[in-house]
Amino acid sequence: MSNQNVMIPTVGKLVQVKDIAPEVKMFGIELTKGLDNGNSTYRPGQFAFISAFGSGEAPFGIASAVEPGGVLEFAVQRLGGVTTALHELAEGDSVGVRGPLGNWFPMDEFKGHNLLVVGGGIGSAPLRPVIQEVAANRSEYGDLSILMAARTPQHHLFLEDYPEWENIPDCNLHLTVDECDEDWKCEVGLVTDLLKITDPKPKDTIAIMCGPPIMIYYADKVLVEMGFSPEERYVTLEARMHCGVGKCGRCNLGETLVCVDGPVFSMDQVGEFLESYL
């Protein structure tokens, strides 16, 4: 393992390109030999670098739970050079994948607990494999509450998954938007408002957040007020990365590197850095 050059991507094929929200596409990538030449599987929370050869590579959270021989899914928002190049690709095109990278949600530690999953915008993508894993192993986890926020109804990434999620036993799905249309039947407001409405109880509950830095910051404050301890609040962070393996030094929060010590953290690990992360 340590003899491999981890900067060399594996070549994969785009087998799925789907519009799921404005400027967001869900890519499905098939790797003939699986990740890392079949050596490893991956876990919820991990990420990978996707290459649009010629334009560059960028890190994305893996947005699907592990399926043997299955396809890796990534939600890609078009924001810059690499993501624009990716958005111009079609089914059948070749891309590069480097991963899995980073650490993962400690799902084993979450077993037996209630889960409160809080997602905002494009940030909700890494939370999808968590929900899928819980659904596939339902009896091992307590109650599941899912809170998803987005700018408008169309900006919700997983509208197609929501009906399925609503049908997960002992699962409550709460949605909110900043601005809505007349078809919208759910809440209007920020995720912090949604948290206050749903009023989760911290007892035996783990909270998991992912979203824009400012959302995490304020949502975390609300959870603290509600009595969640630092060990009960998990987050997956993003930062600009170039190597993803702890060499280029860029993604540091203090002496912690988001790419190798994270991206999954509990608040007792990174709470003090949150403000400087904004």
Binding site: N5, F53, G54, G80, S94, C243, G246, G254, S276, L278
Partner: protein
Amino acid sequence: MDFISKKSLESWLASVAETKKLYAPVYTDGVLLYQQPNEIEDIVWDFSRPVQSAKEIIFPQSEKMLTIEKNGQNIQIIENLNNDISVIFGVRSCDARGCLVLDKLLVEAEPVDHYYKTRRENTALVGLACEEMGDTCFCTSVGGGPDNSEGLDVMLHRHQDGYLVEIVSSAGEELFNGIEFDRQDIAFNERRFEPEFVLPSQDLLKSSFDSEIWRSESERCLSCRICAYVCPTCRCFDVRDEPGASNNGTEIVERIRGWDSCSGEAYRRIAGGHNPREAKADRLRNRIYCKLHYTQEQSGMMACTGCGRCIDSCPVNIDITEIIGLILEGEPG
């Protein structure tokens, strides 16, 4: 130690240059740098330190990591490792120490950086001990010393009309294998150099996070990145795909990595525009902390070798020793 005259050393250097790439301090248009000398006589023997550190050779400003060949959707990826066998002559202790820090970050911490490791393994370092410390030098305050041989393969100590040879490693022994020394078993008198100052403790550093120092000291910063580029231990890089020359319908892409610095404005800016270190104060603080605190925590070794290059090169005189002084005083500048 054994003694070798300067003349004999020059012959030895000439023979090294025949089979390996020899780098030595040489003036290039008035700027002293580690470069391949055209003539052995061009090598400078009396100097403080070259503008750039030895890092430039084992971790160059840019290098091609991969060649990617695209034929339609058929992709071939070729790793590009540099196989030069090199000797860097005239390495100062601070630069050698810098290599040790880079070793910790890029080789000892998994996964291994293949590009750095290959160059490092193929490069021998022959040091020249400093006889005195410069105005901006402070190696003695960060665990090093002007004649410290850590990280070198051979250390040369000036003695009369030549040098005493301290063989440090087996690679060094191999380099000098078969050499006829002019004199042998000369006594070596170690010199004592005192630390310039005492560093702030890790706790004091941590507690200075919200200090006013960062804002006041960074206001004149131009975010020019020179400090990181001349530093023997700064190794932050970015990775880009750039077009290579196409070849008969095959599109060639080169994946290149190049130096970058946390002092640069766009360093942590992500697509979409969010930049957690937009303020210069945040960037200065990150850089100083990385040098004095974070790398120590991550690897056990401090990332500052006290070479003083950043102090000499900063166009607006931002000075790490001055900042250390302010932190020790516990009050803003």
